[in-house]
Symmetry: C2
Subunit: 433 residues, 2 copies
């Protein structure tokens, strides 16, 4: 048996352990799951020195490989960061349990009682990049919602992730949650991710968290159902009836409050009717924050006319770009419909905002834009599980099936119909009670 | 350009037309969609002679090819059947519109108004087998829920389907619903189905309706998200505390009331504690209905003891079988846990039933069985959109993502978050109203 086959065998062994664990985990009451999460938080705190030591190995390797300092920062764990991770686990324990919630229920005409109740999905696979905190966050959310989890992090964090999973498994030993419910996918080769993607029947859903290329490769290769997350080419549309002060503030906040995240704005669309009044002001404000504007012909012309030199010509690629940096593409449109058409063509379906005082235009924009979230007179930055009051989020879905937008605990569940009768037979008069 | 490339180009042209149509269709109010459905129903009734004529071609080809008579019956359309299909379209028009429903809503602590509303999925692809009535049923459900539909039926029904789609498109000409919202996938080769499966970005979801091999091939090859439907290896478990009269009736009803459908029972599990009392009675009742029982050692022994000769030995394959015929696999189990373990190993996750008088055992079974529907003291045959009060159904999902169990109109929608503020900026004090 070659190395590849061994890795596959080992993956299947681990995945089956996770699947078997769901039989014990799924029906557990909330108290048992919360106790297990507190045990994990305690375990992480107690093992902080070992975790920091394991992490130091990853960090040293990254330094040797010449990885950029901001990436090393993402990778690094300190006692303080581990305390924050443990605290986040306790916060998940404090959230309501979605499992068992009755989603709908009725008594059918024949007397059958119908209830649709939330149940765990089963085994959730997470494929993610650098940050080792995701290892614990994702595990906590999955356990709370009654799911086993298969974690496949990046090879750059392998020592940290191995230690974090070991600590979590050890902590579960004294609880009602089976240790096998949290598993690291063995190996860090491309093949090891493939095993996870092809494990239909063992894994119920795969959630890739990372950049567009990771997500595309998972979508392309996976036979396990996938929930796409996180790619955000978000637009702010400033309507002809916009309050211009508000529009400047929202454009600047959406672009610059935290440029590296998926709900930051990447495109600014400006109605021609207010372009002359609005563009000079927003260009000033963006320049003051160090933003490079990639403008179309009309934005460039306006910038030249007002002596702005911070605007560069936009190419077709700029309309598609998820910069995640202090860059924004800007374009003048002749109508709301043209703004919507631009978003349909180039957007990623994450979040779009309109700034307008017109109720009619707000309604039209909300109806026509086909994105996970549509903001009216608010920054795109509000699309977030915490902001929406979900308490925590496993990612932001940009697809339409199962979950769309920020995903909290209910999005980590499926449902089951429970039908109760007294000997009901199809095609026959129901029994008298 | 070869034939294959031409077919692909033609598919992409048609799929883009469908996608473009969603921009007009998605925001339409209920009245406009209902009027379009009534126009389709009228059009089908008026064109009944042409439809019957086109169908006659398919039927003649099937006869020539020596297709079995019951398959030809499924394929055949008469004026009467067309009237029933038109009536079903009017019934869909009478159902409530799921689009626009607020699924959740709240005012966030910062004053932002959050609403999660139902929106159409976009473009729905349906891959199905023989029955031409599915062409119209599926189109009606998709249009009612604001979706465009790409229909890919079987080559055996190509003349019927072509005519039905033409009649529907002609009927839409005078309505607010774009004609392009209903499309037949061009070609009937295996490639034409593949184009549909690989049309990620143009098609939002694919629903295969048919046998296990069709569904597996779609799951394996599709990059478009798939909702699996319809494979049902359903079990009836007769508990030690069962009312034996009720248990006999439910077993017989679940197996024989309509053996060819996915919610018919294929497996009978009997608790050892009542096997001696129950088995002879149920074997009698099943034999009276012409059912062949495939029994394990203990069922066989009991049958021999009571002089039954209708029981044949079960093989491992029998536990997996979706017979869809007058056959049932039967096994004696020592406990409810063993019944659950059997279902976990061999079941398809569709519907399982328990017959018991014990509240405790009913609760345990409901909690432990991981299927789309769990029946307590009722026939498995009740898992059905009509029975559940959904008015119509596009299929029965046996997967856990997005929809599980019978899928009505709400299951053909996604959601969108609409967030309304007054200039809200992230990380800053909310504006005073």
């Amino acid at each position: 048996m070659g190395e590849r086959d061994r890795e596959r065998e080992e993956f299947l062994r681990v995945a089956r352990l996770a699947k078997d664990a769901t039989a014990t985990l799924a029906p557990l009451p909330r108290a048992a799951k919360d106790a297990a999460l507190h045990a994990i938080a305690d375990g992480l705190t107690a093992a902080a020195p070992e975790i920091v030591k394991a992490n130091a190995g990853d960090v040293a390797r990254a330094r040797e490989a010449g990885v950029a300092e901001h990436m090393i920062d993402r990778l690094s764990l300190s006692a303080e960061r581990i305390a924050a991770i443990a605290e986040a686990v306790r916060k998940v324990a404090a959230l309501p349990d979605p499992v068992g919630e009755t989603v709908r229920g009725s008594v059918l005409p024949n007397g059958l009682e119908l209830r649709q109740i939330r149940v765990p999905l089963g085994v959730v696979g997470i494929i993610y990049e650098g940050r080792p905190n995701v290892t614990v966050d994702a595990a906590a959310l999955c356990l709370k919602s009654g799911n086993a989890v298969l974690l496949r992090g990046s090879s750059s964090a392998i020592d940290s992730n191995t230690m974090l999973v070991r600590v979590m498994q050890d902590a579960l030993a004294g609880t009602a949650v089976p240790q096998e419910a949290v598993q690291l996918v063995p190996g860090t080769s491309r093949d090891s991710a493939k095993h996870l993607m092809r494990a239909r029947g063992l894994v119920d859903v795969l959630i890739p968290r990372g950049g567009a290329s990771l997500i595309n490769s998972v979508v392309e290769e996976s036979t396990v159902p996938v929930i796409e997350t996180g790619v955000g080419n978000c637009a702010v549309y400033v309507d002809a009836w916009a309050d211009l002060d508000m529009a400047v503030d929202i454009a600047v906040n959406a672009k610059t409050q935290r440029p590296s995240v998926c709900n930051a704005a990447e495109t600014l669309l400006v109605h021609a009717g207010i372009a002359e009044a609005f563009l000079p002001r927003v260009l000033d404000a963006l320049r003051a924050k160090g933003v490079t504007v990639h403008g179309d012909e009309r934005v460039l012309a306006c910038a030249r006319q007002h002596g702005h030199d911070g605007v560069v010509p936009a190419t077709e690629d700029d309309w598609y770009a998820e910069y995640l940096s202090l860059d924004i593409a800007a374009r003048v449109v002749d109508s709301l419909d043209e703004a919507v058409a631009h978003i349909r063509t180039y957007g990623s379906g994450h979040t779009e905002a309109i700034v307008t005082s017109s109720q009619r235009e707000a309604r039209r924009f909300v109806a026509a834009v086909d994105s996970a979230a549509v903001m009216v007179n608010a920054s795109t930055r509000f699309t977030d599980g915490e902001e929406f009051g979900f308490g925590a989020e496993i990612g932001i879905s940009t697809q339409k099936l199962h979950a769309r937008g920020p995903m909290g605990l209910p999005e980590l569940t499926s449902t089951k119909y429970v039908v109760t009768g007294e000997g009901h037979l199809k095609g026959q008069t129901p029994p008298a009670s």
